[in-house]
């Protein structure tokens, strides 16, 4: 039996980028700190972007309103954490977790529920109409931002990380922020769960097949729209989780948090190849690392560095790093 041949080349970009950055950064301690920070940032973006890439792949839906789920997740988590402020500030890891976990779970639940409503009310009427999707979902994002201001007020919310997640682990000269390590762990867990679901379950097979050719999946007797709604809700919940993590990462939450980060999210899914979760993962790590290295080496270029990265990758692979075979 022949076995599959994998395309490992795009995966090499991550270590290559890190190795190239080492002499430029100079100090190994700074390099390790920047690398962990880049991986953490990348994995948070991956958590936010993974659902969006799947919904695009499954139903060709361009959802510019995805930022609303990120923002709602950030606000809901902030509210829960502020309400449990004494546990957040306690010196007990367990009390910190008892505040943090309900906060992210609530963020996922509310963002997922919002995703269900968003799909029914805003996305479903414009299936197959890209221009209308862009207009309508962008409108949905604007409305959601205004609703957030109505509910939580126009001022930014300042968050303080739980006591156990403040500060850094020191290994000689190397400082690694505790919160960033947690972000890495959560991001890797989400990636592992998605990879297992997509590769080891029937639902995952259906999603992968649906991303390639939804019409043929229907001809085999499966209702792809139900599958799409499920993926949309799960993707929205993950966006909510990512929003909660991003809010705590920045230690402030504003109504524009979703709109700000959605640019990075789109860069990631375009780099990865629309519809590819593996590509989204690699793209997110590249974006996170590039932002941190360039931010350290040439802060004025930080803003444009990821757009430059996207342009270079698309010149190399116009369909993204892991293009999905479409019908």
């Amino acid at each position: 039996m022949k076995t599959m041949k994998r395309d490992w080349l795009p995966l090499l970009l991550i270590p290559v980028l890190a190795v190239v950055a080492l002499p430029l950064v100079g100090s190994p301690a700074s390099w390790v700190t920047l690398t962990v920070a880049g991986l953490a940032m990348g994995l948070m973006i991956f958590v936010m972007a993974s659902g969006l890439t799947l919904t695009f792949g499954l139903m060709d839906v361009l959802n510019f309103g995805h930022g609303a789920f990120i923002a709602v997740g950030a606000f809901v988590a902030a509210s829960v954490m502020l309400a449990l402020g004494s546990w957040m500030q306690a010196d007990s890891l367990w009390l910190n977790l008892a505040a943090f976990l309900p906060a992210v779970l609530a963020a996922m639940a509310v963002s997922g529920a919002l995703g269900l409503v968003f799909e029914r009310v805003i996305v479903q009427p414009v299936y197959g109409q890209h221009l209308k999707q862009i207009l309508v979902t962008t409108g949905g994002l604007i409305v959601a931002e205004q609703l957030l201001k109505l509910v939580w007020g126009p001022e930014q919310i300042t968050l303080t990380r739980p006591t156990a997640l403040r500060g850094a682990f020191l290994l000689g000269d190397i400082a690694i922020e505790k919160y960033r390590l947690l972000a890495v762990v959560i991001g890797l867990l989400v990636f592992a769960a998605l990879a297992l679901t997509l590769n080891r379950t029937r639902v995952g097979l259906l999603i992968r097949a649906g991303v390639e050719n939804g019409e043929m999946v229907e001809a085999l007797g499966y209702r792809i729209r139900r599958l799409f709604v499920g993926v949309f809700v799960a993707g929205s919940a993950l966006a909510g989780l990512g929003g909660a993590m991003w809010g705590l990462y920045q230690e402030t939450v504003t109504a524009a948090i979703g709109a700000q980060v959605i640019v990075l999210v789109f860069i990631v899914i375009i780099i990865g190849g629309l519809g590819s979760v593996g590509g989204c993962f690699v793209g997110a790590l590249l974006v996170g690392l590039t932002a941190n290295y360039v931010g350290f080496l040439a802060p004025k270029m930080a803003l444009g560095s990821n757009i430059l990265l996207m342009a270079i990758i698309l010149l190399w692979r116009p369909q993204g790093l892991f293009p999905v075979a479409k019908r």
Partner: protein, 241 residues
């Protein structure tokens, strides 16, 4: 004369501004193999896609086992026991051969004896079991597309140009497989351009021309009437074998 398993009555299909089918009428007898023939652009593929609900009939009715399926959604039509092999094959290129067949077997893991039967006819599928289907050759993809339709028993198989681009040895295996299916459990409606293949397999024939059925009857009669073939298909004598 057995009862028709599938009947099309006055089926019209429009795609955008274009009227493709102009009132298609024909029956597919249960337990038989009906060949749907016609020149390029006659409406054969549109007819299969309309039966599957992939393009909605603007008028007319489609009856399957006496039930009106004209307005049913594609998954519901498939669940009645109708399998479809499109001309493009539409295999899932990023999934392995195994995963393609696992998905096609809706009721659970593919039956081992059924798989052995498929492997006996399409040996390459066993050899490339763990390979992404996108890495298969054109002929192997066609085998997989057909295998996907027959990995579980289905009442009706709609197959669009199964021999397109295939080597003669593979066509022979395909003929053997279709004969066994017909003799066993399934009814087949096959769109075909290869008349030599069609006349070997078909019990009956429906010939389409310009979005309508211009002729129906027994394949033996049609195969014995070169003038009719010339008129409906534009076939010369050299193309009959």
């Amino acid at each position: 004369m057995p009862e028709p398993l599938l009947s099309l009555r006055g089926v019209r299909t429009d795609i955008g501004r274009y009227h493709i089918l102009h009132g298609v009428d024909f029956d597919v007898a249960e337990g038989g193999l009906t060949m749907l023939l016609g020149r390029n652009g006659a409406g054969k593929t549109t007819t299969l896609r309309t039966i599957m609900g992939m393009w909605r009939a603007a008028a007319g009715e489609i009856l399957f086992a006496g039930r009106d399926i004209t307005r049913l959604a594609t998954p519901d039509i498939a669940r009645l026991g109708i399998a479809y092999v499109p001309e493009s094959m539409a295999i899932f290129a990023d999934l392995t051969v195994q995963e393609n067949l696992i998905l096609a077997a809706r009721s659970g893991p593919p039956d081992a004896r059924r798989l052995d039967w498929i492997f006996a006819r399409f040996e390459a599928l066993k050899r490339f079991w763990q390979l992404p289907a996108g890495h298969l050759s054109g002929g192997q993809k066609q085998m997989l597309a057909v295998a996907r339709a027959i990995v579980e028993p289905r009442r009706l198989l709609l197959i669009d140009e199964p021999t397109k681009g295939l080597a003669p040895a593979i066509i022979a295996n395909m003929i053997a497989a279709f004969r066994e299916l017909k003799d066993g459990e399934a009814t087949l409606l096959v769109v075909e351009q290869n008349f030599a293949f069609a006349r070997q397999l078909g019990d009956s024939v429906a010939v389409m021309d310009d979005g309508k059925v211009a002729h129906t009857g027994a394949m033996a009669d049609f195969a014995g009437d070169p003038a009719l073939q010339q008129h409906l298909l534009g076939l010369g004598m050299g193309e009959h074998q």
